[in-house]
Point group: C2
Chain length 414, copies 2
Amino acid sequence: MNIDQANADAVGRMIAARPMLTGIGTARDVIPGMRESLLLHAGPPIEWPRMSGPLRGAVIGALLFEGAASSEAEAVEKVEAGEVEFEPCHHHRAVGPMAGVISPSMAVYVVDNAEGDNRAYSNLNEGYGKVLRYGAFAPEVLDKLRWMNEVMAPLVGRALESLGGIDVRALVAEALHMGDEGHNRNKAGSLLFTKHLAPAVGEASDDRAAAAEVVRFLGDNALSVLNPVMAACKAMADAAHGVEGSTLVTAMARNGTDFGIRVSGLDDAWFTAPAATPDGLYFSGFSAADANPDIGDSTITETAGIGAFAMAAAPAIVTFVSGSPKDALDATLEMYDITVAEHRHFTIPPLDFRGTPVGIDLRKVVELGVTPRVNTGIAHREAGIGQVGAGLVRPPLEMFREALLAFAKRYQIT
Amino acid sequence: MNIDQANADAVGRMIAARPMLTGIGTARDVIPGMRESLLLHAGPPIEWPRMSGPLRGAVIGALLFEGAASSEAEAVEKVEAGEVEFEPCHHHRAVGPMAGVISPSMAVYVVDNAEGDNRAYSNLNEGYGKVLRYGAFAPEVLDKLRWMNEVMAPLVGRALESLGGIDVRALVAEALHMGDEGHNRNKAGSLLFTKHLAPAVGEASDDRAAAAEVVRFLGDNALSVLNPVMAACKAMADAAHGVEGSTLVTAMARNGTDFGIRVSGLDDAWFTAPAATPDGLYFSGFSAADANPDIGDSTITETAGIGAFAMAAAPAIVTFVSGSPKDALDATLEMYDITVAEHRHFTIPPLDFRGTPVGIDLRKVVELGVTPRVNTGIAHREAGIGQVGAGLVRPPLEMFREALLAFAKRYQIT
């Protein structure tokens, strides 16, 4: 068996994938396997007793949003009575930032791989402040979710239809030339996204105040494109999954308790270990003592060769996640050591337009003891509060070791 | 007399200026000294016989646009009969890119210095392809100008009013963190501009198709913010002008034949020399043989500490103007040698957020023999064709020498 060949095949599919944001649907209608009793969440599988504060908060918020409970207590009761099922977004071709909770009624982006037959989904980004994805569930959080579902989603959906979709790969490629890394810094990408949508949203509505509100929300939220970009990365990573004999990592995700990875040649197995707490910069009034362990599916960006892997393209990000522009450069340079290719479409101007490091090889991670770098937001450890900062984190090395052992066993390598 | 002190004073005013884009008006109504027989143009003073092809083309186009002539021949006849007056934009607190022709009926941006009492103006950017500023005057050029005047300007004007203006200094500061240098690369700035305007334009019109067309035009034109940025730089540079004993350069401008500069402590005198032809990259089908000498008021950006002076912030620009990201870094580093300050508001992430070099000191230019660097578009040398490329150029050293001699004479320095 030729692992290098299998990895080249897998990463080739990842690079060749062309994720197109084609529309918006309702989770229950479009996400395969979605059902009324089910909530999707970020990261590897987890049940209520082990869930961290922000994920519990998002679960409570989602049940309130669905009308399945009318109070926090009732929501918890329902969960403890076993009336709610939990499954990872990743089991349903979906991804969600931070808590990553997707409930049946939620509007979701649909991303199609134009170079393959796979599809991926993500929820809509809520912007800043108190938001479900950081575990907040106050009335204003639910009000905003309702506005997103009822006003924003139909307009953006119609706009996407009239545009014939948005090429997210091209958008990310351009944003990397504009100081984004595509994970924690999506300023340029969100402006490009808004630029594409704004005229079409205006044309899609005869309520100009509503259209203006949607365009303002998209334009003022420097993370508005994060969720479509995550779905695009999921579509790229999934294209590389299931290649016999490949040691390529095709998913990295955290549920706020565990970090988990999946490997191209190891079917749907998760390899997990306790999630670390990020190092970073905290918002005024918060400190490391408030931080929840690492959470969210947004590490799908690093899995697909952007995020911290493209940090050399985004020197200004250090004002947000800590460090110096030199650190940002070094982050990318280090990642070439544990990847198998340089991206053909995603290039880094300050590195003379070198392709981003892409395709994490399990073997290299374990051999060198160098784990992938990750940029991330930091959630408060208690339910209902929200974001407290942003920073840098690494997945635990042990789960890569376990995955490599499983690979050796499965492929009978001694 | 303390020249250093005078320069510190002048550059302090330049840096402290806060240009706000407050509205749109019609040139004849808002530009001081504008009159029916007058056309403004880029660069130092010049008369018809010495005008280059692109400036002549823009003059012809402006006379057709104004209805002052109905054919190219009639326009030329009118000019040759002495019925048209020409004065630099700079004599009227205005600036215009490339040919920089502003005629009485044209809509212009109004920029107010919120930290002073000066005001500046610029025309509206026409986007790509055949455009007046590159000397084209075909019917589609005039049609677009009419659409800009009749549809776009009123909507953008109302939007600016409802927004209470746009802080162009803050916009440029952000764009420099997004890979722009503010002169030849204004991708991020134009998206920020569009983001501010889009919802307000939508609200300003009950014709949603017209609003969408305006938003699409603004968003798809990566130079849409160039003209407001130029007017902002003019407002900053003018704030530094007229400081007794200062050797600070407060204007650099080219009319396609001559390059000219003005100096803070030397009133309104121009010092000129023949404009060089830029080195750069040519569009398919064109070469250096097609290039007109350097043209346009857009060098007001370098005068105010952005453009080529901030090129280290914009490594991706080299795909457009030639060179490597290292060259872009070196361009900025060299400019620290001939300037008197580092900008407090405009910072460069790849240089650890160092302020851009700002405030060109005539003395340093002459002593070191290092002229300012300039990024620029390249016009075809014949009237009516348009842009043929983009590149780099330097102003001739001799006019800096002449200015320094004049300074010595005026201030009786031996």
